[in-house]
């Protein structure tokens, strides 16, 4: 069977632009959760976020594309450029129909949408940008990346809140197995403006604490919700034979995937997270003994944390596997969150060190990697992501040594 490998990483994260900066910030435990700067958040019950402060669109996105793109699309375009550059692939050498784009988006272009709705109601319809026709749309990142790099193969967009980024990466693997040679895949979200934050506050999942040290504490008995962040990652996923033929650096393999949906909350039936993990392991041909580290979903809400921790204890045993949630430094990034965890998982397997979880005192029988990075050995990592209202996704990545080929 065709093996789908990752050969390029493009990262926009609150604690680092680019995969290298993000990786080193994550190892240092560099927290980026702060009071929101971009607008006056004083009247909002939730005031904290993991904002990206050092992204200047004019430096990273062609000027022609800036008036027609929301911030999340500017992130996605930059990350796609970086993933291609990182992979050293020359897209001109492949048929356009063999190259695809598959992204996830949870919210679409909130900032762009807010601005144009203000134009509509304040100044009238003549003042609404023609680009509003697509710039707000959750599918626009896939479209803009496809147009910019002339990638005309399989394209798609997934919406599954925080789980969406894993769905997109798995789908990239599927189309590569179907004959596509490379896919830019991942997820990107940014909705930290007045309208985006209002929508998130209404969702009821955000922590209302103002102290960055105590606002987002997944697996802690003191957990009270999460802090949102912005950004994500676009990965270049490639047919391994092709990657080897061009002597590309291979970060690792997308080895297994499983997704399930939870029963109705009032059904009394348990979560199906465990089954998603079991399906992913079976898909990878691995057992729990092969998993060297788990990147947790880390909801930061008591019941969701309990379900995730208990599922891990059931499958791996108490303190049976190192678990980490570096997203405690940046918040939950929705569709961008899991692709960033996949980036960290791949880099952790290469470097033999697990980036830590910050600030949390775990209240469950899991072996949480806290405070300091932890050296480890192993060749496979499990990344978990759950989307609001019941999405469960599990993805296994595996390093590809010469002996595996």
């Amino acid at each position: 069977m065709t093996t789908a490998v990752v050969t390029g990483l493009g990262v926009v994260a609150p604690n680092g632009l680019g995969a290298e900066a993000f990786w080193s910030a994550s190892l240092r435990g560099q927290d980026a959760i702060r009071s929101i700067r971009r607008f006056d958040v004083s009247s909002y019950p939730s005031k904290l976020a993991g904002e990206v402060h050092d992204f200047e669109a004019s430096r990273h996105v062609p000027s022609r594309l800036i008036p027609q793109t929301d911030r999340m699309t500017q992130f996605a375009l930059a990350a796609a450029d970086w993933a291609i550059a990182d992979s050293s692939v020359d897209t001109a050498l492949s048929s356009q129909l063999e190259m695809g784009v598959i992204t996830a988006s949870a919210s679409g272009g909130f900032d762009f949408g807010q601005r144009e709705l203000q134009h509509l109601w304040h100044d009238g319809p003549d003042h609404v940008s023609a680009y509003m026709s697509f710039a707000w749309f959750y599918a626009v990142n896939t479209g803009q990346i496809s147009i910019r790099h002339d990638l005309r193969g399989p394209t798609g967009v997934f919406v599954a809140e925080q789980a969406g980024g894993l769905v997109a990466l798995d789908h990239a693997r599927r189309v590569i197995r179907g004959g596509t040679s490379l896919v830019l895949a991942g997820g990107m979200d940014s909705s930290l403006g007045p309208y985006g934050m209002a929508a998130q506050v209404a969702g009821g999942q955000l922590s209302t604490r103002d102290d960055p040290a105590h606002a987002y504490l997944p697996f802690d008995r003191d957990a009270t919700g999460h802090v949102p962040g912005e950004g994500g990652a676009i990965l270049l996923v490639e047919d391994e034979r092709r990657a080897l033929a061009r002597d590309a650096r291979i970060y690792g393999e997308i080895a297994g995937y499983g997704s399930t949906f939870d029963p109705r909350p009032d059904s009394g039936r348990p979560s199906n997270l465990r089954r998603a993990i079991e399906v992913a392991l079976a898909d990878a041909g691995l057992t729990t003994a092969d998993i060297a580290v788990v990147f947790a979903d880390a909801a930061g809400a008591a019941e969701l944390d309990r379900v995730e921790a208990h599922t891990l204890v059931e499958l791996f045993g108490p303190h049976g596997v190192p678990v980490t949630a570096p997203k405690t430094m940046i918040g939950r990034l929705y569709s961008g969150g899991a692709p960033l965890d996949v980036v960290l998982a791949l880099l952790a397997l290469r470097a033999g060190v697990i980036p830590p979880t910050t600030r949390v005192t775990p209240g469950y029988d899991i072996d949480l990697v806290r405070g300091e990075p932890r050296p480890f050995t192993g060749t496979a990592a499990l990344v978990l992501a759950r989307g609001h209202h019941g999405f469960n996704s599990a993805l296994v990545v595996r390093s590809r040594g010469k002996e595996d080929r």
Partner: protein, 86 residues
């Protein structure tokens, strides 16, 4: 309302559709370069037409806009519509 000039239109296009990336290759005759070569698509034209409607109070009909292939043709069409409206 005074007539629209080419430099004004170039500025409008920059504001609403981004800096032109190939203007340097057009030998200074940017007004006669095919809009596609300048990288301006139909939505960029719609944006510019909306801006001209606001600044010069001239509305280009959709079919007139559809025939525009260069910035000079855009200027001519706007000023013709303006004259017709006086």
């Amino acid at each position: 309302m005074s007539d629209l000039t080419l430099p004004e239109l170039v500025e409008i296009m920059r504001e609403c559709a981004g800096e032109d990336e190939s203007a340097g290759d057009s030998g200074g005759n940017i007004g006669d370069v095919d809009l596609e070569h300048l990288g301006y698509d139909s939505l960029a034209l719609m944006e510019a037409a909306a801006a001209v409607k606001r600044t010069h109070r001239v509305q280009l009909a959709d079919d007139a806009l559809a025939e525009v292939r260069t910035l000079n043709q855009f200027v001519t069409a706007v000023n013709a519509a303006s004259t017709a409206g006086r």
